[in-house]
């Protein structure tokens, strides 16, 4: 079954087509552009391009997989709304996967791993994976120092992801070079069981982890002196 994968939780705007068969998940086409400020412009043309690359039409799709974040809100929503609207039109199921899993799962090879992406405001979105790639803590948002302390408690010996590169000094863990951003094939792999079982469609709710910046209205200041 041909599956569209989108992720816009990091500066890497990603669209991919994968073929999910009974025993395999194979990449058919892939477009990724690293630009933190143009998610809205980049994603739709990339979806169009991967369809063209695979010589496929939207109606050939059997499911959509979307990275749920965590990630900076505005960009994150682009991927989720694209996935949800395409799923609606095509009447195909949509499945969500924590975007950090697309970094942490493939990086885990025996020892626990800290996967981190940039949360801006000098913070990280992060999660810790055991040696088999299962997420054991997270996703959370905190300062790099707090993430590093928790990761060490959990026995992490290596860090991975764009956030790990950015805060390598604070984290004090060796940094694996790849994957730096959520891997589209891995996101599909982590949804493959649901895809094969034709599991019910899922509402794609973003992993915001932060509340909106807003304060309730306070008393009005008088204009008279």
């Amino acid at each position: 079954m041909l599956v569209l994968v989108v992720d816009s939780s990091t500066p890497a705007v990603t669209a991919a087509l994968v073929e999910v068969s009974a025993d395999d998940v194979a990449l058919r086409a892939h477009r990724c552009t690293v630009d933190a400020r143009a998610h809205g412009e980049l994603l739709a043309p990339q979806v169009d391009a991967v369809l063209a690359d695979a010589d496929a039409r939207p109606r050939d799709l059997g499911a959509v997989v979307a990275g749920l974040g965590p990630g900076p809100f505005t960009g994150l929503r682009v991927g989720l709304v694209t996935a949800a609207t395409m799923g609606q039109v095509l009447d195909i199921p949509t499945y969500g996967v924590c975007s950090l899993d697309g970094i942490g799962y493939p990086a885990a090879t025996g020892d626990p791993v800290l996967a981190a992406s940039d949360a801006r405001r000098k913070e990280l979105y992060w999660a810790v994976y055991d040696g088999a790639g299962q997420r054991i803590v997270g996703p959370e948002v905190s300062t790099p120092a707090v993430a590093a302390a928790r990761a060490r408690e959990l026995g992490a010996t290596v860090a991975v992801g764009d956030g790990a590169h950015r805060y390598a000094d604070t984290l004090g863990l060796p940094v694996r070079v790849e994957p730096r951003y959520p891997d589209a094939t891995v996101l599909a792999l982590l949804a493959a069981e649901r895809i094969r079982a034709a599991a019910p469609t899922e509402r794609l709710t973003p992993l915001y982890l932060r509340r909106p910046d807003a304060v309730a209205a306070t008393a009005r200041k008088p204009v008279l002196p």
């Binding site: 739709a44 949800a84 609207t85 609606q88």
Partner: protein, 348 residues
Amino acid sequence: MADEPLILGIETSCDETGVGIVRGHTLLADALASSVEEHARFGGVVPEVASRAHLEAIVPTMDRALREAGVTLADIDAIAVTSGPGLAGALLVGVAAAKGYALAAEKPVYGVNHLAAHVAVDTLEHGPLPEPAIALLVSGGHSSLLLVDDLARGVTPLGATIDDAAGEAFDKVARLLGLPFPGGPPIDREARAGDAASIAFPRGLTAAKDLAAHRYDFSFSGLKTAVARWVEARQRAGEPVPVADVAASFQEAVCDVLTTKALAACRANGIETLVIGGGVAANSRLRAMAEQRAEKYGIQVRVPRPKLCTDNGAMVAALGSHLVAAGVAPSRLDLPADSALPLTTVSV
């Protein structure tokens, strides 16, 4: 009518998620989800709260619109979406949604100007707009006077507010008077029982010295402060605040300036049609005053019904329909959301 293109419109520039469907000038569906109640305790629209609500509402709102019109996305000929101006994060949800629908259904997408859509919506109620026309657009985010030569290709801005939008002044005065957010409807209601001539509030940018540089511009910040000073003086003197009279007098000042300048623009340009749109156009006094004053100059005032004045998807569909009929080319898939889209750009 069945030959005319079927156009879908998506609106998410502020706190309303709207999906409208039109065929030609005929409205088939106008589905709306609002996050206004989530913003009330903040005293104004919180952009991130609005953006989150759009993401949750877009799919169900689309479902409702399609059901209401009795069509599927496969039947739609083109999708129009507000690409600006408005709140950046909120616009982006609508633009990304429109592209998702357009991609999946293999339809063209048109990124359109929110303010031009407020003008176009009138065609759903009153038919084709005579051009040129003058348009007065007044809402919580905008207060503009436009010369509409050709709604499909460009409009000429004549003036705009230099500080607060008219709707913003309604919100702030409502808060001062202890009335709920948004302030337009409660002030309109209170004003009906008040005396509009009881308090002489200032008319911004109407003095001769201001008209030279700001003939068609508006200013509502000074009016809002004048109301605050008047109310506070009453309160400090231990006297009750006559809410209905304050509401009526404030509303009268706003409507007086808006209609005076809009009709002056019509007369100066020899134009016989004035269209009023935007949320403030739902105000009953503005509608009545505009019609009454226009009559003596032989100017025809066109104001859509209140539900079409506030933000909605039908207005975007109406503009999309106009663009398709005029043979305007669709937008590209890399269409950006532009929070500051200029008035001179009708479609991107």
